[in-house]
């Protein structure tokens, strides 16, 4: 099995280079996702470019679409498109935008960007897989700030009603949203109990110190599952961890570029 730590570092390097080249992007939101996505794409699911267009496949929906830099680096690494595309991130002649589009990017299952959409779409796909009796899973990755959206909880009610045992919700709980900590902007606690009370089988994983604990949880029993992944915004980078000024950048000085390359843990 691929080494989670080594692959995560490789993906973070790719994100930094893409970011430096484009001078824009939501890097800390991508960094908190890396171990989650590496576990999904390299350890749990067999997702390769041959699966594009095939309905008999597992689905991974990045509902917090602004974390797409991590997804793009993984899809490029897995050969869904040329790595040269990463150098055209947010460029007029590229396919990789600031939020992912399934109409443009091979390997993107659902177009996202506006928060609060991905879970309902994933529920539709979970129904589709159930109707066609395909033993596949739908994984929806939410941001913690995204859980401010009412539509998430509409969807949670529905998933529970239908006992969608092929649906896994992963929450990248990096504790911060654009303005500040979740606890100040819109407190989520008791977060785990909220999901539990909506009918989800709920787990929490420390993705900072024990990311390997996620993999065994990516199975379902008889109801939808929610896994709260404790992460750090900017995880894996000395500068970005805990520094909100990096949430979204659209200009980088040469000095900042050096700091970015040197700061990877």
């Amino acid at each position: 099995m691929i080494d989670l730590k080594a692959k995560s570092l490789e993906i973070r390097k790719s994100i930094i280079e893409t970011f430096i080249h484009a001078s824009r992007g939501h890097v800390p939101s991508a960094f908190s996702l890396v171990e989650i996505l590496v576990t999904l794409y390299y350890q749990r699911f067999e997702i390769d470019s041959d699966s594009v267009g095939n309905l008999d496949r597992d689905r991974i929906i990045l509902s917090k679409g602004h974390g797409c830099l991590a997804l793009y680096s993984i899809l490029a690494d897995k050969g869904f498109f040329s790595k040269d595309e990463l150098l055209k991130f947010c460029k007029i002649d590229g396919i990789l935008g600031g939020h992912p589009s399934r109409l443009k990017v091979p390997g993107v299952d659902v177009s996202t960007g506006s928060l609060g959409h991905g879970l309902s779409v994933g529920i539709g796909m979970a129904h589709s897989l159930r109707l066609s009796q395909k033993e596949r899973k739908v994984v929806v990755i939410l941001g913690d700030g995204e859980c401010n959206e009412g539509s998430i909880w509409e969807a949670a009610l529905s998933a529970s009603k239908h006992k969608l045992n092929n649906l896994i919700v992963l929450i990248d709980h990096n504790k911060y949203q654009s303005y500040g900590p979740n606890t100040e902007v819109c407190p989520l606690d008791p977060f785990s109990r909220k999901w539990e009370s909506f009918g989800f089988e709920t787990f929490e994983v420390d993705m900072i110190n024990s990311p390997e604990n996620l993999l065994p949880l990516l199975e379902n029993t008889n109801r939808p599952r929610a896994i709260i992944c404790h992460t750090i915004k900017g995880q894996g980078h000395k500068l970005m961890e805990g520094d909100l000024s990096w949430h979204h950048k659209n200009r980088l000085s040469p000095q900042e570029q050096e700091l970015l390359r040197e700061g990877l843990k």
Partner: protein
């Protein structure tokens, strides 16, 4: 109209495994046979329009043809972003079977009426917008919707609407002419305003020649039919159960201006620029807002004199 449409949807479900229905807490009798006989293809979700449209999108991305049914104004405004991004931008085969278009829910007030749907929806990519006048048109449209590519919004009238359409010619994207191809006055209608325009046209018989060009499809707009008849009439009167801006009148004006057509007389009957803040039956509010048969007739008499 509503029952006929649902009946046709039931037929589609019984004949096609890839047709599914999603309701959002509708009345208990909706598609009860389908629920019983085809339970896999029937979903009744809660009062959660945004979620319902997202779920429809996920099913449609996997190849299902999804008929979603709730109140028109909740599709149009409550779930607008899901409609725009998850369905229209993705050009998916979702059909919005939209109860209570226009002033049907007039007694319930402006939270439930939907007089701004054309205006809001015309800017959404790929969306076909239908406003049938009666159950004939509805039946034809639902049949055609099975193979139509892309999303469709269907504005429903209240049901029991007088059947006036001619069944054989009804197709998505085509306007239908009622009356002769030449005359003094051309009425242009959409939805159940066809009935009102035909009444006026009938009343004018003997005084002048008038015809009705009916747009049961608001989008894509059949420019060609309008342009093929416009030179044959002196006057144009547009009648719609919609606000002033962004509906049939706006579209007709656009077609006429782009093609340098200026009728000798032009009048647009509409519901103004604010929501009608009154309660009453559909016909009562139409009358209150001045879209009355008498008012239209009176304008016609001025033209004739």
């Amino acid at each position: 109209m509503r029952k006929k449409g649902l009946l046709e949807i039931e037929n589609l479900i019984s004949e096609n495994k890839n047709v599914v229905f999603i309701g959002s807490d509708l009345g208990p009798d909706v598609l009860s046979d389908t629920k019983k006989n085809y339970p896999d293809q029937f979903f009744m979700e809660g009062i959660s329009e945004a979620h319902v449209l997202g779920m429809a999108s996920g099913l449609a991305m996997d190849g299902y043809i999804v008929y979603v049914n709730t109140i028109a104004t909740f599709f149009v405004k409550r779930a607008l972003e899901q409609l725009a991004l998850d369905i229209c931008a993705e050009n998916l085969n979702v059909r919005l079977y939209s109860n209570g278009g226009g002033l049907v829910y007039g007694p319930l007030g402006h939270t439930h009426t939907c007089v701004d749907d054309f205006s809001i929806l015309q800017s959404l990519p790929h969306l076909t917008i239908l406003a049938p006048a009666d159950e004939n048109e509805m039946k034809s449209f639902i049949k055609e919707s099975l193979t139509h590519q892309g999303p469709i919004y269907i504005r429903l009238a209240k049901g029991g609407d007088r059947v006036v359409s001619q069944e054989q010619d009804i197709r998505i994207g085509r306007a239908n002419l009622y009356g002769k191809e030449k005359g003094d006055i051309l009425f242009i209608s959409t939805g159940v305003m066809l009935q009102r325009c035909l009444e006026v046209s009938e009343s004018l018989k003997g005084d002048c020649d008038s015809s009705v060009l009916h747009y049961a499809t608001m989008r894509p707009f059949d420019d060609r039919s309008l342009l093929s008849y416009i030179d044959n009439f002196d006057s144009v009167i547009v009648v719609e159960e919609h606000m002033k801006n962004g509906g049939l009148g706006s579209t007709v004006s656009r077609v006429l201006f782009e093609n340098k057509k200026t009728p000798n007389f032009y009048k647009h009957f509409h519901l103004g620029e604010s929501y009608p803040m009154v309660y009453g039956r559909q016909e009562e509010i139409l009358d209150y807002m001045g879209v009355t048969t008498e008012n239209i007739l009176s304008v016609c008499r001025e033209i004739i004199s």
